[in-house]
Subunit: 299 residues, 2 copies
Amino acid sequence: MEKLFDKWIAVDWGTTSFRAYLIENEEVLFSIKTDDGMKFVQNNNFEETLVKSIEPWLDNKYKIEVFASGMVGSKQGWIEAPYQKTPCNLNNIEFISPTVKDNRFSLKIFSGISQRNIPDVMRGEETQIAGFLYDNSNFNGSICLPGTHSKWVKIENGNIINFKTFMTGELFEIISKNSVLIHSVTSDKILKNEFIKAVDEIFKKPEVFGNVLFQLRADDLLNSRGSEIYKSKLSGYLLGLELLGSLGFWEKKDIVLIGKADLLELYEYILHSKVNSIKSILSRDMVLKGLKNFKNKLS
Amino acid sequence: MEKLFDKWIAVDWGTTSFRAYLIENEEVLFSIKTDDGMKFVQNNNFEETLVKSIEPWLDNKYKIEVFASGMVGSKQGWIEAPYQKTPCNLNNIEFISPTVKDNRFSLKIFSGISQRNIPDVMRGEETQIAGFLYDNSNFNGSICLPGTHSKWVKIENGNIINFKTFMTGELFEIISKNSVLIHSVTSDKILKNEFIKAVDEIFKKPEVFGNVLFQLRADDLLNSRGSEIYKSKLSGYLLGLELLGSLGFWEKKDIVLIGKADLLELYEYILHSKVNSIKSILSRDMVLKGLKNFKNKLS
């Protein structure tokens, strides 16, 4: 079978979700999103899971190329795509090709990136970064990807120089859901003034983190001022701690934020006056662009 | 019915456990421990739950006095024993007497303590502190009660001047059980050298807390050095953060630790060279002594 046509498939396969795109001449013809995240795949049925979603896009005439990134390439995923070490040039990202039974497609899973001196890892974020660099290949500065495991990444000439991951989003999640604060932070609303006060507080004294958390509970017991206040402060304490710990990445620097709208807003709100320049980009399409970028560098 | 005899009952009623002691002339005649913690009591059946445990000690001839403290006096408990505010003299601790149907006993539940300027609360710990002061009434200095919600308490002339609670134990628990670190910190062993390195690290840069947590996971993925290392470091990061945040309570001060043996050992290990004097006391019998102390002050 020959590769005569310009169609390909991009797959963004994370821990909890799966997304695939059929692309022709830079355009997305079809896309599909499912809950078949890596961790829900039973008995290593990765190929079956993939084919179930992309079956309508396969035919027996032309073998189509599938490019994937994310946790599907982790030890617990389909096959381990070894980490590439920092400093790492995103123009030479490596991949691994698992053997597939179905001969209507071939598959390349791109590597994640690891840092050895100060242990750190990413898998999926490098593709989002490549997505940003697809349109901004000359960017030098820091990229932040807020989320469960927030990442701050130093970029120079298309290279990931170093990076630092913070468990910010995960701490927010488990403190909200599994600690004594559970009944005090039920609101989903963030009050900017309470949020910024909490950021300032932790900027001044990061070591009181464990105490200010308990203060939220105590204040609720004594004064019941409403869960939106406590939620806003919890958010501020966690974000403040991350920003103080990542100061070298953003202070007076050019920075780019890639993430979801609500988080971008909070990060921008604190950082805009403290950085040289700031740009916010929704993460939604970055993986797709990043896979395009990786694919182009291969050909 | 007259109160002709010297028997009384002490009850230590916490969130998850229940303990009662029958006492005569300063001696414990009998004791009972059950899992009837405050949060497991159904439909407000507090009296039934209490009587079930102390029934053998009740008789129709003499009404016996029962003295209780702990979360049984919280809003979610039997009846709310209002907080006493700091500064608070432990010689004048207040109580509330819920009406009981059974006329073989009367009940006093002692208050917890609250701090208003910097919101904080305790319920149960004040009794342990009174237990220590029972034998050390002239103590001036700081008392630390490590645990789920670690407390640092400033004591002067039998008064609780102020205090500071840290969510140290609870953070340890939820990070170990509910975060991405779950598979990296399975060991129960604490390696002192890794523990102390982590304390030093966080003493120098408390703001990297969210990052050093993720480093444990990354190091495990990259180097698999064994979960006892990661558990020891997690413990050191959390304890280090608390100690840096409570510095004013212990630096060059006389301090007393009241808690369980394993925690006492860790706190002593870090603090012994940095404080004026240190004394460690097992928490086990402190509530009983504290209730004796409160009772004596009433009569």
